[in-house]
Every structure is written in structure tokens, then in C-alpha cells.
Symmetry: D2
């Protein structure tokens, strides 16, 4: 069950980094939504390896095939199966991994849990698994746009290591992040980030950072207390992405150092609507969206795979050393941006359908 | 479905702050676990209002009744129903709330979502709802102790506003937090925190802070990639608690400013076991526990209810002002400690049973 | 999880025949549905013991208390907790059962599964558990009537032992069954059935029979292929009721002896709508309702509890004999009628909400 | 969600009869189970079209590809993706169906529900969808055999139209059914059945019948009251198969005409075990297996597709006539046998894992 996400708009991803391929089955997709291969492919291209000099050089076309659930360009209401074949597999690169646990990877824990693992690459723990999420996210976005034509989901890199971007949240538009390869809308910071990533890679090391995500024009009323609060489902969604270590919404951890009189978002009438003067809540109160901008931040650790030699142990419990060969991302942040957007779309889409189901007096 | 948590060990809470009562139904509890009212009551007493001078003075005995699922002191394997009656209800204190949305509370969003709300107190959004979680958490802890006799779940207050406790994580024991009313194991810091909370309450204001939680002696192998990773389910569990704004595990957001060569946890042999030299991972790798200490932090905002006058609007969309009457917590942190422990126990128990289910060769 | 039913409109029942009480938590109930204690009580009164001379003489008032989720006569959208206390418990009647397995009861299997059981009465396997279902069914019916004002769910006894009622399905109305204590709309047959039940009870024996159920004016489009087909969920619902052995929809088992040319329901235009000329399908095609009358039959075995002496074994594996003391139903059929209706309402309500969720172009 | 089945061993099928292909994703499969393509293929070959003169002549090789979750011949514990390409698609055969609703097919109801359908063949309602179930059933059987080496699941045709086989249930072995093309272990009856099917096909008509299924050596303790009773989940599983109209377990509908004193299964000691003298219960009591043989019967209607001309209406609501062209099964029973076995294996496997999860004292 761990590979299924969502209650009503529900996805199940499958696939290891090596083997037949990776993909997703989407259940609960409303019928008659227009969707094309190219709309899904566009998002996959934003996450694929080899897209720039600062990502891994593993070359994968990541071409998607819709197996079912779409007919003449429209969803049927039946499960949508999407498959991406694995291509650029070089299992020989991974031979050493068969017997050695890479530090801060999932090799040891998969072995501990399952007593077996596909050691050719990351297996199920590979970031390739996120292909299914990103493909499904593209479908979710189409549904959200059908329901709320003005909704906007925008993620971007806000920080790499110590380099913090200066970003006026109210001005960032979808597409701004994609104007540079690090996906940071602050162009000056982006330049420094790219340079830092290149230097770090040359140094055989890796970097972490922060992705920020905004949702504008989501309606009030999304989120299902008490456990499926909107922020709770977003937190789960984000912490389920590889390499994430933290999540904060609205004021986040800075709220812990504020007083109620500062932090409370006063209500006021604005434009004929009930609005809040400030937005420390991050667009969610009591687990339900209030119509304000939803914004949150996700912390990513530095990539575990590094070229430097590290101490570790083998499956036969002997001390050894390991240096990564081959290709890897020195920093996952640029490719994480479409993943964060996809997971956000999945959460919102699920809650949008759930809200429709109970709101029977609006029929 | 938003009031159900867990896959195999699954709880459903019910109840508003005013009305017949609050409670929980626990499904999937293994049979023949010894459990008594008093074990559940002990945890409820740790969360109940009126327990000290720095909590709300609402007096609720919060006496639990086990309605089903337990026979002669042992679980039957059938659903365990637990009920706590609402007693100290003074709906007249809340008359103003019928028509006015309290800032940073859930009044407006419940109205927006459901088109109706129980305005007598917090209704479903009240912290009283957590009674069901804490009661179920006590049961979960018993199951975990049956499976892993040495397991230890310890939460405590690590920070109130700017006051940070100095805590040697490796030395905190269960019970240390309960030696003072703010539930902070650093006694010197605790004193200052209590004093700050008292002054802030006198000032008509409120405070936020951080609860830290440790799990020791959890076995390797808990967590279900790719969505039900252990940290993902913990993040959801914590962000589903009232007033939470952030979650970080292990190195958390500080990981974003580290390099891979610093952050990676080298494997080594220690005491005949595969262990890690450092523990930036926080006991979880690839979404699965690795046998090291699991630790994470949860950020709480300052209590939304404050005595100071605040601007807001009425349900009929008129500007007004509001000052809280009556009783409330100036800082939720002390009472949040048993809630964090309970949610942690629920997550671990669910994953422990899930791991048993698939691990069929160990039968 | 075995005590939860439904995906979107989801109920969890709890309780044993002896102990604090039995009840239900209803999740996913739309807000602003008018519901009163008396509407629920009316259905509970139809299922309660002691209601007539042909049911068990156990006296239970079965008075329900709504604990949560309803405010000023309307649903809040939050979980609805309903509790019925156990009253007329005479555990001494059951002392023998502590050590002896009653034939064709669940004593042995509960022991085999859980290694423990509440032997005071039927425990969890008691028909008292259906109280929660019937209470929730009353709520489901209200929701269905809100969505489809003309919908009608009518169950009745169609057969007791060899006595078959003559019933013109098209003429049975809700209420007809309740004009006599055996709940059979064929008054002549009802008389013979009552007399047979009385004679059988006097003879220390028990009887089975068939309940038939009709749903009129359900809309086309309910049911979720391929697993949650409407008939599949109805079958599960019915076979989850105590004492059921079979389910058939529409033509049922008689279809097995028909040819396609006889069995196919031709489409025709009637009253401006697409209708079928015959209705062997029973109102469901491909797992989805087609707007025709849904009808199905449920087979109940004779009550397992009989006054006659029977051979059995003890928990310590010794051969023994057992004759039921005390009070029991000589035939469960009359009290099964409201149970069948309740389960039908639960299934339809769940599917109605599920259909709303995906039907986004009708917003 | 309607395409997902099972709680712990959970399958999601996808695919229409025309388009990329059909398949399944299996979640919750324990790791280290040996499984090969050929074991899955063997079951698919039993259900594939064109396998004999009495099945449809549509030629599909139905060659399966395992996309994920299996490594070096063993399951990984990760989702198992299985794909079967659609090959022998002749959409031109179906052009008429684009606008006409075939009687007793799902064309009209899919249109009513989704407002769109893949009219090239049966679409999602095609029996091709069961490929995913049969493939998953093969995996489930392997798991069951790992847990209970002596378990046996045997289905066979017990009746075609009026022709009833004479079968001594205690003597039927797995494989007996496959000795003839109608899959009936009574060889004399099989001959008559085959002849009847051939004559009926020549006559442009179709036939229904009954499949019976036995499970031997299932352990006591499987089934989760009160809703997920073993018979309830079996009933749902069977009624989710195309063309099914009824389900009965053990004594089934014949129980309705019996007295308790006849029907009760007395307990006795036999071979050192607690056994029942008779087995009207069908191996399940109170929703839990009791260790006796589980047996049940499934009624199938005559195939809806017939060569004879039938009255129907078009999507534009005009009266028309329709005669099936092309290839179809005159009787689904022979191919239904592996489907019934597969669904049975899925139900039992799910319950076996669920029972393991709660049975923690047996660790």
C-alpha cells in the first residue's frame, strides 16, 4: 500500500531504476478531461536527467506512453496507465553496489526490510520512481484547471546551501523558475548557485537547499480535518520525495518565536470578500484552505552519492571504502521543482474531489 | 475519511468540544494485549486542561470509558471504543463566536467548507479532539512494547519562543519532561520558560515553540516506500496536530546548508551490528528505519486565542473587534508533548504491523 | 479494518453484546442534512429484540444517543458518533458458553482467530452489532432522499422455509412489510409464516428464509467498475450480515438456465427515456445502475441457537452436549428486513457520493 | 478506487480491450517469493480467448511482461507491474457500437456514468480486464502455498444451462477440470455440455451456468468480521466478475428451506482436531474460516453478445436493431474457471496477510 497516494484521486507508482520501466496507474480521474501525451511529456522533460550541465549526465529520454484510460484525447474515467521504459541502464556501473551499502542511501534499509533488493542502481529508491508522480501531477493539474481556471501552482529554488535567493513571492509567475537551469527566479542568485554547484561537483561533493512552493487562487474549503488537514497531506507528500528532511507552511518554524498578537491573521473585508490582512497561516487554517495564497518550504539534504571516498560496510559486514563512479546529480534541487509541483497538484486535486463529494447542496 | 488515521492499526476520532463527548474507535488492534483504563487515563491526564498554572483553567476530568474491545483486561481484537464525556462546557462563553470569526482559528474555514459549524467553542477544531488520539496512543504504546520491549518514545519541549533548552539527546529519559510543568528536561530553561509563559499570559498574549521527539530501539525495517515512508507518515501525523507549522527529521532544515561529505552517515560495525557513525539521517534512510535513534522536531505557532483585542469580521461580513473571554492556554507546548508521543506511537505501531504482514518468511 | 464499510460514506461499528454498548462512527456525511434522534430510533425499533411474539424476548430498549456530528438538528460534516448502551445483559445465562463451542456459531472461529473471546453472549458476533449499521443506514437514507427525492428502498420477507410469498414486485410499497410481524407483504402467506415460526419455536427448532429488496428511482450511473460494481458491493454488504448464505441480483441463479436471447434486456424509448423492456439485469449492467428497478434476494440460514440438545466439544477438547437456554430468535428474517434496507442505503449513499466526486462537469 | 481490490495484498488493474494494453499493479506482495513469467503465463493461457472451439475465436497470445517488482526470479516487496499488450484488435468490427447500445452490455451505463466510453469493443467492461486479475491471482497462489503448503484452490464448471454435472466434491483434484475444454470434471456431462454449447452457438444464441469452487486446507482464522467476513469478500470478488448474477456459500439458498437442527454443524474431535461433522457452513462461521473445506457457487448469466438480431436504441435515442458480428464466447463458463480461482486466491491471500499482522503473539 506504500506505493499508493491519495484517497479519491489516487495514484499507484511502480518500477525500479533498472528493469522493464517505471510508471503509474491513476485511479479516480474524472471523465472527459482533455489530456495529451505532450502535456505529460512537458513535465517529464522538466524532471529528466541530462537536461543541463548541473544535473546527472545519465541520458534518459523518459518518453511516456499512455496505456489506458484516455480515448480520443479525453479521459474515460477509467484507470490511466502510463509507462516510461528504462533505457540508459548500465548495471555494470553498479556491480560494486551489490555487496556494499552506500552511506545515507537506502541500500541497507531495503535489505533490512525486505531481505532482498535490486542493487542495479537505486532500485525502487531511485529518483526514477518520481516519474510516475510527475506524470500523474500533469493530469491532476488539468483537473484543477478545469475546476478552478485561475489556480496557479509555482515552485522554485529558494536556497542552495548558504545562498538564499531574494524573491518577492507576490511577483513570481509560473515559468520564471524555468528561465535558468537551477530554477531560481532570482537571476543574480541563480548565477551564483550554478557556479557553486559546478565547483562542488568538481570537488566531488554535493549540496542541499530549499524549494518553495506557492498555490494561488485555490478556493476556500479544501482539506479534511482532523487527520487529512491540507498541511498534513502536503507535509506527507513532500516528505515522501527523495532527499527531503523538512517541511514548513506559512510562518513555519519562525512562528515558534512569535507571539499570538503578531502571528494572528486578522480578518478584513477586501474586494467584497473575507480576507486576512497578513498570511502567517500560509493559506490554511484548521487544516482547511482559506482562499489566501498557500505557501510552504521543503528542505532537501545534499545528494548522498558523491565522488569522494567514504567509509562503509559490506553486506557481509566487513569494513570497506566506496567512491561513487559514474553519473549523479551534485544537487537535486533543480529537478525537484517539478516534483514538488506535481505532489502539490496531487494533494489539491484529491481534496478538490473530496470536497465536491460532500458538498451535496451545491449540486 | 479525514478523521481516520493509519492503515492497519487504524483510529477514527469523533466529537466536538461541546456535545455528548469525544472519543475514538481503534481498529486492527491485535488481540490479547493487556490494557487497563488506568494506563489510558495516565496519558489523558498528561494532556488534560487545568493540570497546572500555565495551562487553561477549563476544568475537565477527562475520565475515559472503554466501551468495547477489551475483556477481562485484554484486547479482543475487535474495535476498541473509548468515550470521554464533555463536562465543563460553558456555551455562554462562546455566544459571541456564533457570529464572529476568531483570527487564525478555524471558524471561517469550517464555515467555508461545511456551511455550518458548532460555534460552541472550537467544535471539531478544538484540541479536545486530541483526546481520542492520546487514548489510542496509549494502546499503540502497549503493542509496541509487546513487540519491542526496549522501545522508548520520549518527547519534550525544546524551545519556547526564543528560549532554547540545552539538552543532551542521548541522556533524556522518559519521565524527565514530566518533572516540571512546562515539560522541558533542561530544568534551568524550564524555569525561565514557565516565567515567560506567565508573564505573556498576564500580558494577554501567547507563545509558540518546539517539541522534540526521540524514538530509541525501534527495529530496522519500519516504513513503506515510496509514499508511506516513515518520515512522511510522521510529518503528516505531526502536521495534523492543532497549531503545528513545521516538521523536520534528523538534520532537518540545517541539512540544506551542508555538503554531502559532511552529511552522509558512514556505516560501521559496532557491537556486532551495522550502525552509522553519525545520525544526520535521524534514524530513517529511504523512508525505512535503520535501527538508529529516530528524532524529529515539530514547530508550534503561538495560541490563536489571546485576551488582547483583535480586528476581525462577522459572519454577516461586518468589521468588528474581538477579545477572548474565558479560559485558554497561553502556550500549547506543555500539553502538546503527550500528543506528539501519541501520534508517534500510532505511526510506529501501524508500520510495525504492516511490516509483520509482509515478512512472511519469519513466521 | 474489518469493522469499516464504505469508501466515502464510511461507517465503523464497535461493540460487543455485553460491555459498555454498541455503536457506530459515520464519516464522510455531507453537512447540513437534517437528522433527528427519532428518525434513527424508528429504524432501531424495527430491528430491536422483543418487538413481537416471534422474535427473541430479550428486552432491549436500544435507545440511541448521538454523541457528535449533529448540531441543532443538522449534520456538521464531522464524524457522527452514535451509542446504544447494552442493558438487558444476563451474562449468567452464558456461563456455559465460556467453555463450550455452540454449533454453527462463531465461538470456535473467534477463538481460533483471536485466541480470546468475550463469551458473554455472542460478543462481537452478536446481531447487536447491526445496531450501528441500522443507525447509519437511517442517516444514509436521509442523504439519498436529499439527492434523489423519489428514491425508495423496500425490503420484505419473501420466503420462510418452504413458504413462498406471492408478491407483485411492482406494487410493494415501503411500509407494506411492517403491517405484520413477520414483515411479509403477502398477508395470507404472512399468517402461515407466523404460525410456522411459532410451531417451530415450540419444537425447539429454527427456520431460515429469503429477504427480497427493491430500490426504485435510483439514478443511472451508480457503481464503480471493475471491483466496486454496484452488485459486488451489495453482495458484500449482504453477506456481511449475520446468518446470510447467498445473494442473487435480478435473474440471479435462474439466469444460469436461460439463453442470451431470453435473458438480454432490450433497450427501448419509453417516456422519453432510454429504458429496458425486461429487467433480468436487476437494474445493474456492467456494475453500474441503469435507472431500472434494482432488486436482489438474500438467503438466510436457520438460526443457529436452538433449544434442542446438540453434540459439540468444549474448549478443552472434550465431547459434550448443549441445549440453548434463554432467549433467542426462532427465525431472524423479520428483524433482518431493516438490516437489509440499511446495508442497501449505505451502499447506494457511498456510490452516490463517489459519483458526485468524479462528475465534475456537472458542477 | 473502483479498480483496486484488497487491503494488504492489493491489486489495481488497468486497461481497455483496445488501446495500449491491459495489466495490473500488485502492491503488498511479500518479498522473496519465487515467481516466474511462466507461472503467470500458465494461468493467462487458461483464460485466454481462442483456446478451444467453444471459446471466442479472437486470437490473443496474451503474453505477459513483468515490468517491475521481481528481480532474479524473486519478488522484491515493491509493486509488481504486469503488462499484456492488446494485439488482435479489429476496431472496425465495432464501428456500429459507437452509436448503438448493445442489450445487457455496459455500453449504456458507461455512457450514463462517464459521459464518454471507448466504444472499440467492450472497453473497460471487456473480459480482457480480467487478465490483470488472473495474473495477480497466480502470484497470490504462490504466497498462499508458501504460507500453507497443502492449500488447494479448485474451481470447475458444475452446470451449463440445465445440464448439471455429477461431482463428488471430496474427490475433485486441481487439474481435473482442465482435462476437457468445458472444464467440468464429470466427463460424461462435459461431453453433453460441449455439444450443447456448439449447437447453441450455431443457433446464434448463448448459455449461462454455474462455477463451483473449493478451497482445501485453508487454516482456521481467516476473515475479518464484521464487514470483511470471508464470505462477504468472496461474494464481492465473485460478483465483480463479468456476467455473474449470484453467489452462495456452503448450503447457500438451500439453507433457507432447512431447520436449525438439520443445518447446524456439530463439533466433534477428529484426528486430534476440532472438526465439524457436517459442513453446511461451507468452511466459514461468523465470517472466519474454521478449517473445513470452503466451497461456494457462482451463477453466470448467458453471454450478452449473440448473433441473433435484437431490438435496441442508439445514442441519439432512435430505435434500431443489432446483430453481433465477429467473435465472441457462446458461454463464458470455461474461461471463467481460472478467473474464479484467481479471485479466490486474491481474497485468501489478503486475509492471510491481515491475519499475520494482528497475530503478534505468534511471532
Amino acid at each position: 500500500m506504500g506505493s499508493t497516494f491519495g484517497q479519491l484521486f489516487r495514484i499507484t507508482t511502480f518500477g525500479e531504476s533498472h528493469g522493464g520501466g517505471v510508471g503509474v496507474v491513476i485511479e479516480g480521474c474524472p471523465p472527459r478531461i482533455e489530456i495529451s501525451d505532450s502535456e505529460i511529456q512537458r513535465e517529464l522533460d522538466r524532471r529528466r536527467p541530462g537536461q543541463s550541465k548541473i544535473t546527472t549526465q545519465r541520458q534518459e529520454e523518459d518518453r511516456c506512453e499512455i496505456l489506458s484510460g484516455v480515448f480520443e484525447g479525453k479521459t474515460l474515467g477509467t484507470p490511466i496507465g502510463i509507462l516510461v521504459r528504462n533505457k540508459d541502464a548500465r548495471p555494470e556501473d553498479y556491480a560494486a553496489m551489490a555487496k556494499t551499502f552506500r552511506p545515507s542511501h537506502a541500500d541497507f534499509t531495503y535489505e533490512a526490510k525486505y531481505g532482498i533488493r535490486n542493487w542495479q542502481g537505486g532500485g525502487r529508491a531511485s529518483a526514477r520512481e518520481t516519474i510516475g508522480r510527475v506524470a500523474a501531477g500533469a493530469v491532476a493539474r488539468k483537473i484543477l484547471q478545469t475546476l478552478y481556471p485561475k489556480i496557479d501552482i509555482v515552485a522554485y529554488v529558494a536556497q542552495i546551501h548558504e545562498l538564499k535567493a531574494k524573491i518577492d513571492r507576490s511577483k513570481v509567475k509560473f515559468g520564471d523558475a524555468d528561465t535558468n537551469i537551477v530554477r531560481c527566479p532570482d537571476k543574480a542568485a541563480a548565477k551564483r548557485m550554478i557556479s557553486l554547484i559546478e565547483r562542488t561537483r568538481a570537488d566531488g561533493d554535493s549540496l542541499g537547499g530549499i524549494v518553495e512552493c506557492l498555490v494561488r487562487n485555490a478556493p476556500p474549503g479544501l482539506g479534511e480535518p482532523v487527520f487529512d488537514k491540507l498541511e498534513a497531506d502536503l507535509a506527507k507528500a513532500m516528505l515522501s520525495l527523495p532527499a527531503t528532511k523538512g517541511f514548513e507552511i506559512g510562518s513555519g518554524f519562525s512562528a515558534t518565536r512569535m507571539r499570538g498578537s503578531e502571528h494572528n491573521d486578522a480578518f478584513e473585508m477586501r474586494g467584497g470578500k473575507i480576507r486576512t490582512s497578513s498570511n502567517y497561516s500560509g493559506g490554511v487554517q484548521g487544516g482547511i484552505s482559506n482562499g489566501e495564497e498557500i505557501y510552504f518550504r521543503v528542505g532537501f539534504k545534499p545528494t548522498a552519492t558523491i565522488a569522494r571516498e567514504q567509509k562503509t560496510v559490506t553486506a557481509s559486514r566487513e569494513q570497506t571504502k566506496l567512491a561513487a563512479r559514474g553519473r549523479h546529480d551534485p544537487c537535486v534541487l533543480p529537478r525537484a521543482v517539478p516534483m514538488v509541483e506535481a505532489m502539490t497538484a496531487l494533494v489539491l486535486c484529491d481534496h478538490a474531489l473530496r470536497q465536491r463529494a460532500i458538498n451535496i447542496s451545491q449540486k
